[in-house]
Amino acid sequence: MASVGEVAAEHRMPPSSGGALRGVRTTFAQLVRRPAGAIGLAIVVALLLLAVVPGLFAPYEPDVQSLADRLQGPSVEHLLGTDRLGRDILSRLIYGVGIALVVALPAVFAALTIGLLIGVTAAWLGGLLDSVLVIVLDALQAFPAVILALALLALLGPSLRNVIIVIAIAFIPGYARVARALVFSLKANQWVEAERALGASSLRIVVSHILPNILPSLFILMAMDIPSAIVIEAGLSFLGLGVQPPTPSWGVILADGFQSVMQSPWAIVFASIVLMISTLGFTMLGETIRDIVDPRLAGMTRRRV
């Protein structure tokens, strides 16, 4: 696989802003032509729809209990059955889409923003600051994402907001490293020197030339991190350390199912299926976009947890 530096070295010229829209359009055209891209896009669009207007699709409210109907299998009234409190599993899963995205999207976006700031600063200024930041990032990355998130949640306490914070923190080093490597390889280009000779300030070079060059790669990374964030959130919530019940996070639904696993498997079965389809959808979309935009990075599927 080509290193990030090699990839960045391809972009030798400062980009012109005029081609951006056309680039997006051709990317989109290629995307829908590839089966993986089309399926991924369809799943993601469907999820977004469910997240925005869950009430349109969910047959019941997510937290209406009906103890008389608890732990039922799939039926006409409850297509995916009911959980241990008699809540409709389908409705809870549909409302869960919103929870998954409300955590995952801000988390990866925050990680991108902060990681970008750290990476660009480290690479642009270099020297001691860079060395120190690299060591801090190394130390941070030594924690498996789940363990880091757990350690932080143990202190912050479990809540939806805190899950966003800890996932963002766990993802920051990845963006900072990539941003740093990309800026390093761009810095070596002659046009940077030329800009400087023309009297451009560091800030101007970074904002108008470096950033447009590295952002596409970082956005691709972000697209591929969304399913990871969804999986980590559900995992933390499953352990009871993330989104708290009765909020219908997929992790909470799994935990409810786990508690009554001996009586009824349906909550676990359907929540697992929904989780898998959603993460596969985001993965297929993200990887297809990556393959189109950055063919040299193609071929590897990233792990989740």
């Binding site: 130390a139 498996p144 676990i268």
Partner: protein, 318 residues
């Protein structure tokens, strides 16, 4: 080589110190009083005072961080609030089970992933390659807790084939191994797919190299080329990934241990978080993080030894 090794060891040491500083300082970064957070709202002032003194919480932060780091190096991770046992003792009790779980899962993943990767690379774009490709990608995206829960539902609850609770009795090998089956599979699925894909990718890359073309030109049989010449070089990136895999597996055992009610490091940390037993959380997380660092170090060194080309380049990191 020696210079690189030395630099790598120093870096590792610095990272470990950073981790200790980080964990030592963590409690003070968070707003609020850690003692009342830990003891809950109903703690008596006297108890809070006692715990404060025990933790040395009124000392300046840097003194506490230094204390934690110095004690940790000497193997003292503090005292468990609940049972009053040394944290080190608790961790040593929990560690073997977790290490067994992670090591067995890694072995399983390598034993399945490597042959699958080789076979699909030898016949690229064949039906077998396409099928294993789809399955691998699907496996990679399965989180360990989903794998664990689904295995629990299928094999334990429905079919009742494997036991679901605890780690079994070590003196009874059949019992012990049967308790290991489901948790190990749950941990391994992701890595079976990942190692399979990785081996395939690096094998394909090697099979396109000039020296393989030369070997073909000499009329050496394809089978011999693949297994004798190509495999040797193609397997090297896998060595590096095994270290990463081991670290990651230790990190996610927590899910599997909770689902299958196995005592272990993950379960220890989980229980400690639930009961706000801060010294155990800190000690457990430290041990996990240090093991991840060491696994990566071991993988790096093995990689160096396996691939002479990297030795020359110095193996610098970006």
């Amino acid at each position: 080589m020696a210079a690189y090794l030395l630099r790598r060891l120093v870096m590792t040491l610095v990272v470990v110190i950073m981790i200790m500083v980080f964990l030592g300082a963590l409690v003070h970064v968070i707003p609020g009083d850690p003692v009342s957070l830990m003891l809950g709202p109903r703690a008596t002032p006297a108890l809070a005072e006692q715990v404060r003194a025990q933790m040395g919480i009124d000392n300046p932060v840097y003194v506490q961080v230094a204390d934690f780091a110095i004690n940790a190096v000497q193997g003292d991770l503090g005292i468990d609030f609940v049972t009053k046992t040394p944290v080190t003792e608790l961790i040593l009790q929990a560690l073997p089970s977790t290490l067994t779980l992670a090591a067995t899962a890694l072995l399983l993943a390598a034993l399945i992933g490597i042959p699958v990767g080789i076979l699909s690379a030898v016949r690229p774009n064949s039906i077998a390659d396409r099928v294993t490709g789809v399955i691998s990608v699907a496996l990679i995206t399965i989180p360990p807790y989903v794998a664990g829960l689904v295995l629990l539902v299928i094999f334990a609850v429905r079919l009742n084939v494997f036991p679901t609770i605890g780690a079994g009795d070590l003196s009874d090998p059949v019992d012990y191994l049967s308790h290991l089956v489901l948790p190990v599979i749950a941990l391994a699925v992701t890595w079976i797919g990942y190692i399979g894909r990785l081996v395939r990718a690096s094998m394909l890359e090697v099979l396109n190299a000039d020296y393989i073309r030369t070997a073909r030109a000499y009329g050496i049989r394809e089978r011999r080329i693949a297994y004798k010449f190509a495999l040797r070089n193609a397997i090297i990136p896998t060595i590096a990934i095994l270290g990463v895999a081991f670290g990651s597996l230790i990190g996610v055992t927590i899910f599997v241990e909770v689902i299958f009610a196995r005592a272990g490091l993950g379960m220890l940390v989980f229980d400690a978080i639930m009961s706000r037993n801060y010294p155990v959380v800190r000690g457990g997380v430290l041990v996990i993080a240090v093991m991840v660092v060491l696994a990566n170090l071991a993988a790096d060194i093995a990689y160096q030894i396996a691939d002479p080309r990297i030795r020359v380049r110095g193996g610098g990191r970006i």
